[in-house]
Symmetry: C3
Subunit: 154 residues, 3 copies
């Protein structure tokens, strides 16, 4: 039986990793905002061309896709393809009462892999580098889901 107590070191590990990934996802939204504001480009809504404090000199080209801004959106999409599944798999994994060392390796390992993926994506590293960190994070999530299924079904 698992009672959820943040004094439990496994749950604490999960809480730290999950909360850091919350900040990552929300921070990616703010990076997109910052890049839109800095470049004045990469807007997505026609009404964003109304002149105002956020857009002093509007022009129609601001709605064109812009790699500087769109890169942050692509990073965000990649986060959404991976991080909510991590939250779910991690929660179930914690419920299966794993060894602390294993929980730390997997949960902090995911955070580290995504941090490295973020840097690789941001700095436009070649595909192979980005793919390597993506793969590590993805395999951790897949392992945790399989671990849970094994635990529950056997």
């Amino acid at each position: 039986m698992t009672t959820f107590d943040l004094a439990d070191p496994v749950l604490r590990t999960y809480a730290i990793a999950a909360a850091v990934m919350v900040l990552k996802v929300m921070g990616q939204g703010w990076m997109t905002v910052a890049r839109m504001m800095k470049s004045g480009r990469g807007l997505v809504n026609p009404e964003d061309l109304i002149a105002g404090p956020l857009n002093r000199t509007p022009d129609a080209g601001q709605l064109d896709i812009d790699d500087y801004v769109d890169r942050s959106r692509r990073m965000h999409r990649n986060d959404l393809e991976n991080i909510p599944a991590f939250w779910m798999a991690g929660l179930l994994f914690v419920l299966s009462a794993p060894a602390l060392w294993l929980a730390q390796v997997l949960l902090y390992g995911f955070v580290a892999a995504r941090a490295a993926h973020f840097v690789a994506y941001l700095t436009k590293q070649r595909h192979e580098v980005r793919a390597a960190f993506y793969t590590i994070g993805s395999l951790i999530v897949i392992y945790m889901a399989l671990h849970v299924l094994w635990d529950v079904l056997t």
Copy 2:
């Protein structure tokens, strides 16, 4: 120690806010469907041009991007960038056993901010209005994640 009991007013607050946001996300999908059906535009799959009950008079232009339909998709994407992180941050926040008033302010505050963001986006309010409500929701999620980290790490 937290035992999950829906009689607990903090957990009850979370359950209400989280369930309402589930309905919000699912409802946004149905708004996209309704707008596609009403306008007959904004389809995304080549096979959707097969004539049938959902598309009686197909033409290739139906696959073009259409602001009426795409607006609902952009609202959906914005939901996905914010709401799953809210679910996760809120759950961890509840585990940290916060004061009921604080839980109510933050959890219901997020729901209210997203409702206002929905209206602002739907009615094409200027960027500054939409951004204000986005910011409130985002800061609530970020605060909850930091609150959890502070609680766990100190």
Copy 3:
């Protein structure tokens, strides 16, 4: 009161359904990777045109939208619009201590509906077929959220 114990058959049902959907989401990412590698098309980042083990003969056309690859991305987006809300609604639903048969019908029903949606999308079935399975999954999530609200608010 609910204590989270994977020996509880309702929680076990949830764990199985949720873990399978984690594998579904992660697997969709790998399908996109596999289709990019197989076709050498549908890349999204300019830096992916650097020659290397993942891209031996780059050309600019690889960045064009390609239905074979983009279909997998659209399937992924559809997953993200539905599955995290399922995880959340299902967790709250389990907290409301439902009857086991109802939990099994809804949670496994969602998994089955999404599996059928996957096949329909992958094999380019007409819109009506895909929409039917989407609708079943969506209504299950909506029902669970309403069930929770009813349980908590009455």
